[in-house]
């Protein structure tokens, strides 16, 4: 029996995994991947089965824990946003070397157009780099179906599988047909070849040769995959390769009746025979893919025979931002203006009385009080530099605070402030949220403590992971002990509440600790206004 449900792409993938015998989910929140873990946490069946679903401190710890579960023969997923895969890159690349025992899906959600991210990196390059098979759903149903297929592939090929999501699929809802019954979870069982999990050079060399040899099998799986297919068309003036959600935009442009032959890609490595067939029967090739020109680069190498390849590298598809149905239609219209059935819409009027409405810190948010007091304290230090970090408080860059000088990656505030102080910068401050601090700030703080760097580290603690919607923060209630435990001088680990009425006190605290020639930590604390409201209404 199957039931129709209305699900986000993220939710469909999570439910698919639960139905396919998932034993553990591991993740750190990050847009647009957060809802994968949240679905596992909220699902009734998941609770009944006791599927692991506690948040991890960061993506690296999440992936390693998932790998540990896979070692013991059970099915696990780990989910993260694209830049989270950078944090988890070490275990990710090496998990292709150890291989998987229980099915292991590494889910990375890319954010082209940077709706809520600092870059547009395309996770598929990581999969290629690690020589790992990949799945890329084009719609919510495929996201659901790929969870089971991914586990099966992973166990059949003895390797983790990378599942690439993108914002528009992660955060778009559609009707998905789901199974009512779930598969049994795997029993605990150990790897057939325990040796390959010890990546010492002698073992690694062996394993690397095997992984290279296995590539052929991976390609074979792609050739016969239900997610890769050739759809024959009558117009051979163009052959189109469309991956993931780009396929939908192509169908939209022609109302479902594309006159050209199309290879739809949903599984990697690329199905070489299928693509060769397309190339041989088409005068030129157009590549439509969300993200960076990944397939286009490979087509240029794998299949180059002098035929023109149109895409992002050739300049025929816009290189930055996410694809849209309009961009795909425009590209085809430029290349083949006479294409049969290409739909034309007349764009509506350009609006005249519209201005931008940038996001801002909420009214009643404690970060506002931290920035207000910090700016007041820094008035007399025109050369002060404040190194920022990733979270709601990054919005301190905008009006009215204009308070931070950098935002690079999770945890970089502390280490950059330290490096700047090493260079002679004074005052050098870091501002970081509580969740970001435990994600990647603690090790940097240890470096600064060990050298008693002359910096002020501000932990703006709102007791949650705010930007992603208020998930548990792993350091809640422990921040002072963590700092002191790492070796910070207790006299310079200061705590205050981030409240408007304490403005002068917070300002004076900043001034005192700026004047102290060594490492200080100021923990300024107030619960996130969004989670506070939710807690208040839950109590009612």
């Amino acid at each position: 029996m199957r039931t129709k449900r209305l699900l986000l792409g993220d939710e469909a993938l999570a439910l698919g995994a639960i139905k396919a015998g998932l034993s553990g989910a591991y993740a750190y929140p990050g847009t647009p991947s957060t809802e994968i873990m949240e679905y596992v946490q909220g699902d009734e069946e998941s609770r009944r089965r006791g599927i692991h679903c506690h948040w991890s401190s960061n993506e690296k710890t999440a992936l390693e824990a998932a790998l540990g579960m896979s070692y013991c023969g059970k099915r696990a997923i780990t989910s993260m946003k694209h830049v989270g895969l950078n944090v988890a890159a070490d275990p990710f690349v090496n998990s292709a070397m150890t291989g998987a025992n229980g099915g292991l899906l590494v889910i990375s959600a890319d954010d082209p157009s940077m709706h809520s991210s600092q870059n547009e990196q395309d996770s598929r390059f990581y999969g290629d780099f690690a020589m790992m098979p990949m799945l890329e759903p084009s719609n919510q149903q495929e996201a659901y179906d790929m969870a089971r297929k991914g586990f099966e592939l992973s166990e059949h090929l003895h390797i983790p599988v990378l599942v690439r999501m993108v914002t528009r699929l992660s955060h778009s809802r559609a009707v998905v047909e789901t199974e009512n019954e779930a598969d049994m979870e795997n029993h605990l069982h150990y790897p057939a070849n325990p040796r390959q999990w010890v990546l010492m050079p002698a073992v690694s060399r062996e394993r690397n040769r095997q992984l290279i040899k296995d590539q052929e099998k991976f390609v074979y799986e792609s050739e016969k995959s239900q997610f890769n297919r050739l759809e024959e068309g009558e117009d051979h003036s163009l052959g189109i390769v469309a991956s993931g959600i780009a396929y939908n935009y192509l169908q939209e442009a022609f109302g479902g009746k594309v006159p050209f032959s199309v290879v739809k890609i949903g599984q990697y490595p690329l199905p070489v025979k299928m693509l060769k067939h397309l190339r041989d029967k088409s005068d030129a090739i157009l590549i439509l893919e969300e993200g960076q020109p990944f397939i286009e680069r490979q087509m240029g190498g794998l299949l180059y025979d002098g035929k023109t390849i149109y895409g992002k590298l050739s300049g025929h598809v816009v290189r930055d931002g996410e694809l849209t149905p309009d961009e795909v239609a425009r590209t085809i219209k430029t290349l083949r203006p006479e294409a049969a059935g290409l739909k034309a819409h007349k764009e509506g009027n350009a609006p005249e009385n519209v201005v931008g409405r940038p996001p801002a810190l909420c009214q009643g948010c404690g970060h506002r009080d931290v920035y207000g007091a910090m700016n007041a304290a820094l008035e007399k230090y025109p050369d002060a530099k404040v190194f920022g970090d990733i979270g709601c408080y990054t919005l301190g860059f905008l009006k009215p605070f204009n308070a931070i000088d950098s935002c690079v990656d999770m945890g970089a505030s502390i280490t950059m402030a330290k490096g700047a102080a090493d260079a002679g910068q004074f005052p050098s401050l870091a501002i970081i949220g509580d969740s970001t601090f435990t994600h990647s700030g603690m090790t940097g703080l240890l470096d600064a403590i060990n050298e008693n760097s002359n910096i002020v580290v501000v932990i703006s603690d709102n007791l949650t992971t705010g930007m992603t919607g208020g998930q548990d923060s792993q350091g809640t209630g422990k921040l002072e002990e963590i700092c002191i435990g790492l070796g910070a001088d207790p006299a310079h680990v200061r705590t205050i509440d981030s409240l408007p009425k304490l403005h002068d006190k917070i300002r004076d605290l900043f001034e005192e600790e700026i004047q102290y020639p060594g490492l200080s930590v100021i923990i300024s604390r107030r619960e996130c206004i969004q989670t506070a409201r939710r807690h208040a209404s839950a109590k009612k």
């Binding site: 129709k4 209305l6 847009t31 647009p32 957060t34 809802e35 709706h115 809520s116 528009r168 699929l169 955060h171 778009s172 809802r173 559609a174 009707v175 959600i245 939908n248 935009y249 169908q251 939209e252 479902g256 849209t324 149905p325 309009d326 239609a329 739909k343 819409h345 007349k346 764009e347 509506g348 009027n349 350009a350 609006p351 005249e352 009385n353 519209v354 201005v355 931008g356 409405r357 940038p358 996001p359 801002a360 810190l361 909420c362 709601c392 919005l395 930007m467 992603t468 919607g469």
Partner: protein, 193 residues
């Protein structure tokens, strides 16, 4: 049946609730549906929009092409204008006229209203004022949903069922208030249409 709708507003105004209700009504009516929404940074007081596509046939793209939307449904007048390039020439704008001013360069409200009226098919009134008459300001988004409902080919009772389904666990009073807001919005639009 095909209805391509752009839902617009400012983070926190409740446009995703409208999407949720129409979504579950569409599911109950056995329609195809795609609804793309925005999470993350822009929810912090920035402009937010959702593409809602309903159809009796399978839907390809999660996003609505420019010039193809049948309707812009907005909680805020300037936000309604932002998506004009997506509206088809025969499309309708259903919007609240109450501005949400959280920026210091907000354009002249009269100019915004005039620009809205330039597009012939418009239903525009202060949704919050109407919501206060029949329920409370919190139901403004349900007034908007009501005002949009005559333009969507889903039976009224199915939408009301979906409202009940969404608010049911908050008690019968909350359901009644939201149904009242929905019906009042619907009446207002039917007078204009």
């Amino acid at each position: 049946m095909k209805s391509d709708i752009i839902l617009a507003g400012v983070g926190g105004q409740g446009i995703l609730t409208i999407a949720t209700i129409l979504g579950s009504a569409a599911l109950a009516d056995d329609l195809y549906l795609k609804q793309a929404e925005v999470h993350g940074m822009s929810q912090r007081g920035g402009d937010v929009q959702s593409n809602l596509r309903l159809s009796s046939k399978p839907i390809h793209s999660d996003l609505i092409p420019k010039g193809a939307a049948d309707m812009i449904v907005s909680m805020e007048p300037m936000e309604a204008l932002r998506y004009l390039p997506y509206l088809s020439p025969e499309g309708w704008i259903v919007t609240s006229t109450l501005p949400f001013v959280n920026i210091d360069n907000y354009p002249d409200l009269e100019a915004i209203k005039a620009e809205l009226q330039k597009h012939g098919n418009v239903v525009a009134f202060d949704m919050e004022a109407v919501a206060k008459e029949v329920a409370s300001a919190r139901s403004s988004n349900l007034v908007l949903l009501g005002a949009a409902s005559p333009f969507v080919d889903i039976p009224q009772d199915k939408i009301e069922k979906a409202i009940e389904g969404l608010f049911g666990r908050k008690g019968p009073q909350v359901v009644e208030a939201n149904i009242a807001a929905f019906r009042r919005g619907r009446e207002m639009a039917l007078q204009t249409k």
